[in-house]
Amino acid sequence: MNDDKRLDRPEEMPEAADALTAALAAASRHRPPPELRQRVVRKVVRGRRLASIWWYAAVAAIVASVTGIVTWNVAAAQLATSRHANADVAQLETTNEVVFDVIACKGGHVAILRATQQGSVSYGKLYTCPTSEDVVFMSGRLSSPPSGKTYELWLTGGGGTRLQGPLQVWPSLTGSGYYFGSITFKADRKDPSYEEAQLTLQPAGDAAPGNAVLRWNAP
């Protein structure tokens, strides 16, 4: 950043462009509508599908010329596995002010809870803030909780494991079919730290953590 040529144009200094665009977004009343996300993703996925279809069509035509069998279903199977689950960040818009304060906190920390089961796309994020006792946990891409069971957040620290409470979940606004959940609570001090975090799926009222669907361990 010592090059003088960079000193008169924001476009040549990414930090300046970041500051300008962030400031405009903060000042603006214009927000992208939630449905735009699906349209954008659908557009790129459709483009990929079309490309795949043409590719497989070409392959199928060659194969058909030899064997007389057109294997369109190969393309279809390939396409069916191509879609990744939607992220649920848009759900932030429905949560309360504490959530925004904590996750936007300067110098804040976050632990990412990963799925314990292979193939699961669920995830969780535990946010803490150095200037606040408030802690926020959010989880996305969850399966619908079966009857009689709830998602519960259990945190381990200071020699004990404690239930922080059941997760409130609701269907994702993205229409992905997954569920999104969050819980906000106060720790016993500012900037709390933990050794383990688990999101379990178990009957409410159990005294110990049950089957963990998400887990984070301090390295």
Partner: protein, 211 residues
């Protein structure tokens, strides 16, 4: 609740996500969309109008999807590449719009930013934009308004320094000086933030760095 725990990075950096997008990873694309949608949309809405903002946002992210393979991390940060892509697209859409109209648009943007600097940031927006918008406003707030205005006119609507000079009835040297001083102050403010030890986004922190 004492522990020696280390909290890990929120999400992969933009550069890693862009590499995954180049490999046609829709999940990585969605994360980048969520990170930048608010800023792209706001820019498009103010410069091109709310009606066109949706289409423009969609086109910008379609470009990201198609061109992700062209991003070379050895040549700069993802944001530099992405904002160049966004800006080129929006300025292309602005072709045919008069210089006078561009100046009006830029002045509206500068006024909005000035109001936000004076009044502070909406916490909802901070979460929405996924960057520390208050810090961005603080940084821009350190610039004198006339310097900030020149940067806004140059960046958001693509006015050249000579066009700005004509629109503001100022000598070209004055505009260039304002741009240069504005960028110098912006750079100093950003360096000061970098060395303050407080990251703009959540980042990996070692236990001995946390206290």
């Amino acid at each position: 609740m004492e522990s020696s725990g280390t909290f890990i990075h929120l999400e992969p950096p933009d550069e890693a996500l862009c590499a995954r997008v180049a490999e046609r990873d829709v999940g990585a694309f969605e994360v980048l969309y969520d990170r930048y949608r608010g800023r792209v949309y706001a820019w498009a809405a103010h410069v091109l109008g709310p009606r066109q903002a949706e289409d423009t946002t969609q086109e910008v992210f379609a470009l990201l999807w198609r061109r992700a393979g062209q991003f070379n991390p050895s040549r700069g940060q993802f944001t530099q590449w992405f904002w160049a892509l966004t800006r080129n697209h929006i300025l292309r859409e602005l072709r045919g719009i008069s210089r006078q109209r561009r100046t009006q648009i830029a002045d509206q943007i500068a006024a909005l930013i000035a109001t936000a600097i004076a009044e502070g940031v909406d916490v909802e927006e901070a979460a929405f934009a996924r960057v520390d918008t208050q810090r961005a406003l603080d940084t821009l707030g350190r610039l004198p308004p006339d310097q900030r205005r020149v940067l806004v006119m140059s960046y958001f609507v693509g006015l050249s320094h000579s066009a700005i000079a004509e629109e503001l009835s100022l000598p070209l040297g004055t505009v260039k000086k304002r741009a240069r001083l504005g960028m110098q102050k912006l750079r100093q403010a950003l360096i000061a933030d970098e060395t303050s030890g407080e990251p703009i986004q959540h980042k990996e922190v070692r236990p001995d760095e946390r206290r």
